[in-house]
Each structure stands twice: as structure tokens, then as C-alpha cells.
């Protein structure tokens, strides 16, 4: 009897309401669901990353299922979350296969999407408050070295583009500015507090580890 688990990591990015859809993540979910439905197995287990649990909590549930095979599908723009979940899964099982999804083969160009490279002309044409969709493709200039709460497809690593984006938000989405500033501060500091919690580093959960020398 083969027990197979298929998982997708949590989508951790924040955008102060700018982004309503992440098409690459959605494509990854579809692909993961297809793997879950179609791959040969006698018993199946699926997690779409939407449970709100930390990576360790998800891994414990996987361990309880005791799978023979674990497949983790990760949208290329969510690689850091994928690494966090993969590390947690490897604590409970040796059989973790990680697949990165870099593009949705069914991609059709949509002029409403954030372009693949910073394009001030595109930004200049955005006049309405309609939510954005992030493209179903990994950006060309993708640096996953530093943590950031912002989606990579917003190209926040490009300083001049980010400045233009901030001006656009100031003009067209002023109600989002307070939260946007909060996200930018974390981006500048190279931290993603949600990723840290996902990785089990909540201050209260780590309290004993932090105080071990003085208690």
C-alpha cells in the first residue's frame, strides 16, 4: 500500500491589498491538486497551505499520516516558504521531493498584470483602484536571498521602480499607505515576520530557547 502526501506551502507575501491574485501560486495549487488526484497511491493526503498553521504543525500532521512519499510543489516566487516547509517535513520524514513551478503553461498575456520587468509606462497607465494580479511566471530578476514580506513580482529590490511604485500608491491607494509603510520597513530590514512565524520563531514559542542560559 502506497501512502502519498502532496503539499503546497503557505502563501506568505503581503501587499497592503494591492495584489488580489497570484497567478503563479494558483497554477501551483492546480498542479498540486492534479498530482494528488492522479499520482498512483492507495491513500492520499493533500494540504493546500491554507490551514493557517506553522510549517511544524503541518509537518506533524504529515507525520501522523505516515506517508511513503511526500511531494512538495512550490511556486517559484514562494521559494522561501517552500524551504521552510521542506525543512520542517524533513524533520519527520526522509522522503520529500520538492518541485518548483516557474511558469503556468497555460499562461496568456493579460495587460492588467504587473509586467515581468519594471515598467514605469505600465505603472503610469494604472489609474484605477482595481486589485492587481501577479503574473503566472517567475520574474526574470528574482533574488530570493533576503526575506521580504513583499511579493517578488512587485520588484521591490529595484530601488527606482520601488520609488515610482510608492508614488503611485500615494496618489491612487492612499488608504493603503500606513500598512504599505509597515511592509516597506520590514522589506528594508530584510525581514518577513510572517515567514518567521511560519518557521516557528514566534517569540513566545521560542521563549525557553532564548532564556536557557539564565533560568
Amino acid at each position: 500500500m502506497v501512502r502519498r502526501a502532496v503539499l503546497v506551502p503557505a502563501a506568505l507575501h503581503r501587499s497592503a491589498g494591492l495584489v488580489a491574485r497570484d497567478l503563479l501560486h494558483e497554477a501551483t495549487l492546480r498542479r498540486a491538486r492534479a498530482r494528488h488526484d492522479e499520482a498512483p497511491a492507495d491513500e492520499r493526503w493533500f494540504d493546500d497551505g491554507r490551514s493557517g498553521q506553522t510549517a511544524a504543525q503541518v509537518a506533524r500532521r504529515v507525520a501522523a499520516f505516515a506517508p511513503d512519499e511526500v511531494e512538495l510543489l512550490v511556486a517559484g516566487t514562494h521559494a522561501r516558504a517552500g524551504e521552510v516547509l521542506a525543512a520542517a517535513l524533513r524533520q519527520v520524514t526522509a522522503h520529500v521531493a520538492v518541485t518548483f513551478v516557474d511558469t503556468d503553461g497555460d499562461y496568456l498575456p493579460d495587460p492588467a498584470q504587473v509586467p515581468l520587468s519594471p515598467d514605469p509606462a505600465w505603472l503610469a497607465t494604472r489609474r484605477d483602484a482595481a486589485p492587481w494580479a501577479l503574473p503566472p511566471r517567475t520574474p526574470r530578476s528574482l533574488d530570493l536571498g533576503r526575506a521580504s514580506p513583499l511579493p517578488p513580482a512587485l520588484h521591490a529590490a529595484d530601488a527606482s521602480w520601488l520609488a515610482r511604485l510608492c508614488r503611485w500608491i500615494t496618489e491612487h491607494r492612499p488608504h493603503a499607505l500606513a500598512e504599505w509603510r509597515c511592509l516597506l520597513h520590514a522589506h528594508d530590514a530584510g525581514v518577513d515576520p510572517v515567514e518567521a512565524v511560519y518557521a516557528g520563531m514566534h517569540l513566545r514559542d521560542r521563549n525557553a530557547d532564548l532564556l536557557v542560559n539564565i533560568l
Binding site: 491554507r50 492612499p174 488608504h175 509603510r181 530590514a189 530584510g190 525581514v191 510572517v194 517569540l203 521563549n207
Partner: protein, 408 residues
Amino acid sequence: MSAARELLVVPPDGPLTWLFPALRRHDRPAPPDALDMREGMDVADVLTRADGRALRVQHGPRGGVVLAALRAALRRAGRDDVPVAPWIDPDGCLEARLLARSTAHPHPLLPTARELDGVPFFATDDRHPDGPVQTRLQPGWWGVLPGDIWPDDARAAWHTHLRATVPELALQALAFENHALAGVDLFFETLTRGMRLPTTSARSGPLVIGIDGIDGAGKSTHLTLLEQWLTAQGLRVARHKIYRHGVFHDTVTDMTRACRDGHALHLWPLQRHAKLLDSLKVWRTEIAPTLDADVLLFDRYVETHLAAGTGRYHHDPQAREMLMDYPRADVVFVLDLPVATSLARLAQRTGLTVDENPYMLQRFRTMLLDLATARGHLVLDATGDVEALQQRMRDEVQRARTRRAEAP
């Protein structure tokens, strides 16, 4: 612009509506001519538009934070003469409206829980229908948490409730919980820090060299060798230590020990602030008098503070601003050492500090390496041959000296 002598101020959105944007629909439009900070203003914008006129800030949890921030900004600008006072809005702030329209959530372990439109939130001030709720949480966090002290079973119940009702927001809520319990006030930071965190600019003066790394990496050894090499070339070298374990050791240890039950986590940042203030003192009393030297050598530099703060509670908005006196370094070396090796070397010392534990050392190491990547620091394997490492350092220092000499 209005010619009124007094302006009403409506505070911007805070963490509760960042988490649950749907609750915004219960807010009301600002009065005519009011300064509506929900339209993207921060404190600096308000003071610019007010142009010296009196300000009355909508009374409420967020309003209290805005009021305090405005007064502090005016004080710094020498404008204590500008009146800033609360405005009791007869239609109520958003928090009051939410309380009035919500129902008590029937959860036995979460007595402060309310519910509106399926959104769970908490009333943690004196307006709770059942009476005042004591909490040390910063007011900007109103609604996000049931308080700062509650039993483990209640905390677990709240997390379960979040995952059941708003699973896509549960992890963000826990991240807010982390900051709120640690005393980090993200709402205040967005009012006062502008769009980007402050950065230090380069300045003329001595060449600035720092060596960072976790404990036991060999910083002192290499600093001594560098100092000897530079001095032998006829350069005046001043060596400094800005991160001093011994100072306030007993005080910060006692403050940190008080966090052991997980209910006084707001003391964590105080421990960090004590060390930041000590580094500021070191700048004024020890470093500033040596700015006529040719080279300043630092045993740990500002990156140590940044790594310690973000490594512990994932955000340290104040540290960068507090360290603005320190110039941008010309060269920073990060001596990278595995945590296990560091702990083995530390075992030979008597007594460990709070931070010298496996978890914090790993976080510290990770953040230092991350900063090195972002800032272009040179990362060296601390377990490598000392002479080979020292030669690499000297080559890099020489390149830095050349850059300085060639700079316009």
C-alpha cells in the same frame, strides 16, 4: 486649504484593519476640512498641512498614539506652543463603532472577544461592556489580541479560532501577536518613520573598519593583527568596542529573566534598548574624541545590533535610527563560524550571556550573513587559516584606502 484656526485629525488605519480590511466599512467619512490621515498622511504631513494651527485628534486608541506622536514632533521642532488635544467625536472612532455594532463572542476562554461580520476582534480598553481590561499592549494594537496576559489554553483557543474563521490571515495575526507582545509598535512606526527606514550616509574622516561575527569567531585576534599591521605603516589607529556584554549585564539579565513565563515579553526590547543606549554613550565618550585618527577599528559594528534585534523578534525599527551617529563603514568583515564551534569555544569561558544560546546564535549568524549580502560585506570562514584570512583582510583594507584616496 481651510482658514480654520483649528484642525481636526482622523488617525490612519492600524493593525486591526490591516488584518481585517472589511471592518473599514464601519468607519465614517472625516468631517469637512479635517486632516484625514487615512488618505496616506503621516505625522510630518499633518504638521506641514497644519502650518502652526491647533490640532484636535479624534479620541480613541489610534488617536492617542497619533496625539502623542504629534506632540513629540512639535517638541523636537521647538513648537510646544502649538496646541494638540483630543477631539471627542460624537459619532465615535472606528473602535467605538465596532464595539457598538458587534456582539460578544460566546467563547468561554476569551471573555474580551467580540464578533462583527464574522470577524473576530477584542475589546481591551475601558470601553469593554464588561468593564476595563488591563493590558500592557500598545494602544495601536487594539482589537488584534485579547490582552497581553492570558492562559496558555486561552491563547491556544484563540489560535484555533483564527484558523477556523480566517485561516488565510492566521499567520499574519500571529506575526502581529509576536510584535505586540514584544512591545514593538508597528502603528507608531508607520506614523513617524516615513516611507523608508533611515540609512547612514558616508562621511569623510578616518577609514572605518568593522569585524563582525558570532562569539568565538576570532574577531579580537584579527583586530589585533590588523591594528599592528596598520600601525606599522605609520597610521594612527583607534580601536573600539561598541557592543559591551559586561555593561548593564545584571540589569538586562534580570529584565530578561522576568520574561520566563511568557507574560512580560514587552521587556525584550528594553534589553535591546539598554545595549543601544550604551553604544550611543560609547560613541560620544570614546569614539568621537578619536575621529582625528587615520583608522577606526571596531570589534563588532552596527550590524551586530541590527542582527541581534531582528534575530530575536523579527523587526527592530528603532535600532537603525538610534545608531545614525555611526558612519557607514568602509569595510566590514564577517567572520562566519558554525554555531556548534562557537558554543564549544564559549564553553571554555565562565558564564554565558542571555544571547549565547544555540537558538539565538543561529539567528544572529543568519542575520549577519543576510546583512553581509545586502551591504556587500566580505564574509570569511572563521575556521580558515589565520594568516590567510589576515592577508585577505589586509588586501581589502588596502583597496578601501585606495578608494578613499581616489575619491573626489
